[in-house]
Symmetry: C2
Subunit: 367 residues, 2 copies
């Protein structure tokens, strides 16, 4: 009876798993270790918690529609103009806004195979054709192949760098070349959700493509995505942002809901920004955990991909079985969607990593 656009018909609504408390009850467990969503296992800054506790007295009031104080703080932190920022209810929302504005049933979106699944989802919600460029045999990404796949119909390119779930990242030099060659009528969504974890690894900082410091790299239409959900540890609050040229931000603002970011998220992100020590601590601990897991995988003879983020993709013979067995033991990880028989584990605390490796060892020995 009701008419909906034909391209929406094939979209399956998102099905989420059960909350941890429910899983505990069902499995009869007292402890669950969640290494499934690339969250910060160290929580968040104490400044954030304290500020939120103080702000509960104001939750009857609408948030500031432009995130005034957070915008001010962030623009100083990033050394950019305030009107080069748009905040989202998580950076996911900005991916969605981008699709709504720049894609349509006549347009193509382009991304590497095995990218963050939301790119495909939002492209489908506006009826765009989503084209995936194959990875190399080792799951690395050849940016030239992406350039070669561009056609006049290509309106948006999505790149997560580092990539979720492979952990792969293109290096600065190759990315510079890619930006140089990028056509001017294409929007590049450069998703740096894991940016904080890449420091010191020669991974590009997308800000340098919005304010080019190298005169050989001209300005292109880049929408840089960052989030407070990962290294800042604020996944539950839902706050992310994009940096782009003012003209692009203005276009995205047209479809943003006036009160899309909530009061406590704005306060939380503001305080989180102030506590860079917490971020540095988290990144350092992540590096240690990475080595811990690398060594563990090596000892178990498990193939894994080196990562530039806070998760690692690894290969097992029967991913479903290993995933489910870990779940029974109270350890939640994730299938690496799009990669058969690969799993993705978020890097946890030292103790969580030990328990994960130990459980994995037990499961593989039984197989």
């Amino acid at each position: 009876m009701l008419n909906i656009p034909p391209y929406l018909k094939s979209i399956k609504p998102y099905k989420s798993g059960k909350p941890i408390e429910e899983l505990k009850r069902e499995l009869g467990l007292t402890e669950i270790i969640k290494l499934a969503s690339n969250e910060n296992p160290f929580g968040c800054s104490l400044l954030v918690k304290r500020a939120i506790e103080q702000q509960t007295v104001h939750i009857n009031r609408y948030p500031d529609g432009k995130a005034y104080y957070l915008r001010d703080q962030l623009s100083k932190f990033l050394e950019i103009d305030q009107d080069e920022i748009i905040f989202g209810n998580g950076s996911n929302e900005i991916i969605d806004l981008t699709a709504r504005v720049f894609l349509s049933p006549d347009a193509d979106a382009l991304a590497f195979q095995g990218s963050f699944p939301i790119y495909k989802l939002v492209s489908k919600t506006v009826g765009a054709n989503f084209i995936e460029v194959p990875l190399e045999c080792d799951f690395s990404r050849n940016l030239e192949k992406l350039l070669n796949a561009i056609t006049p119909k290509t309106k948006v390119i999505f790149i997560d760098n580092p990539c979720n779930p492979t952990g792969f990242a293109n290096k600065k030099e190759e990315f510079d070349q890619f930006i140089k060659a990028l056509p001017n009528d294409v929007v590049l969504v450069l998703d740096e959700a894991y940016h904080e974890y890449t420091k010191g690894h020669n991974i590009p900082n997308g800000l340098n493509y919005i304010h080019p410091i190298n005169p050989n790299i001209p300005k292109k239409n880049v929408i840089l995505l960052r989030t407070f959900s990962k290294a800042y540890g604020l996944a539950g609050l839902r706050i992310g942002y994009a940096v782009a040229q003012k003209e692009i931000v203005e276009i995205l603002e047209k479809v943003r809901q006036p009160f899309n970011t909530n009061l406590l998220a704005q306060i939380g992100a503001l305080e989180a920004l102030k506590d860079q020590n917490f971020v540095e601590f988290s990144v350092k601990e992540n590096e240690k955990g990475k080595i811990q897991l690398y060594e563990g995988f090596e000892q178990l003879g498990i193939k894994f991909l080196p990562t530039y983020a806070n998760f690692i993709m690894f290969q097992v013979e029967d991913a479903d079985k290993v995933y489910n067995q870990l779940l029974k033991e109270g350890i939640i990880i994730r299938p690496a969607f799009g990669f058969d028989n690969w799993l993705r584990v978020s890097i946890g605390t030292k103790d969580e990593n030990i328990k994960f490796l130990s459980a994995l060892k037990g499961i593989l020995e039984k197989c």
Copy 2:
């Protein structure tokens, strides 16, 4: 250089005012009374504050994508199925999802003149034609005129009942007739943001159109909107919901972002639902404040509209002047958009209402 759909070009991004703290500084005031956004002047339930304070330890974790516990609680409270509910980042988000799914550049959206401005905004973001049906001379709404305005192109009708900003509401009998006559290929978005304030006034409860108790009223395609932002006092958290037939919820779920409602909003709404005493208290106080303001307006010889919500629209000779003068005195109210020389004031606490009336009296005497 960049192509965006032509219908987006005319949309002006939302411009918000300055935060209260900034206004205070600029105006050299120590106190600001905000009666501008129909917020609950009594804050929110203490249960909410306590629960949020206890949950700050979990904000590094993503929220539950389906709002598991809140959904369970709400479905029991409303006596409906869990899959008849969709949660939004404020009910605004669900208005947006509805437009994306059921409207298009070929479709018409229908609403009364002077409805909640977001209906027009979201309709424009998807290129739909937004048609406004005129009000009666006294700003009441004739539902038959809305029916008569329906054409084969009409896909969505938006009705806020009570209406923001007039405070007018259609009564149960006339609404029943309207629902009976509503064509089956039209979606009715029935926005009951102020539902809690209407009790005892013979205003329809939209739930009865989703699960008809009267056999003479057949099921139609109703999307009922409710929010925690008003009587529940959680505007800052951003959480609202829609109730609709399962099939409609499933369609809306296709375009919902997986983690659209944040962790603290879910917990907050869950606790707020448990504390119906707070809601009852707020509604009773609102009734008292309403009479207080009615009497105040009468004493000042000011024309106002009787309201079924927590705000009152009133007429002055020079609305801009009165608005700005009140602002200078630290009292923020709002122009009634679409109604020249009418202002809208949210019903505040007894003390806030006294201060508002006193300031208004002073301003009018000087005019």
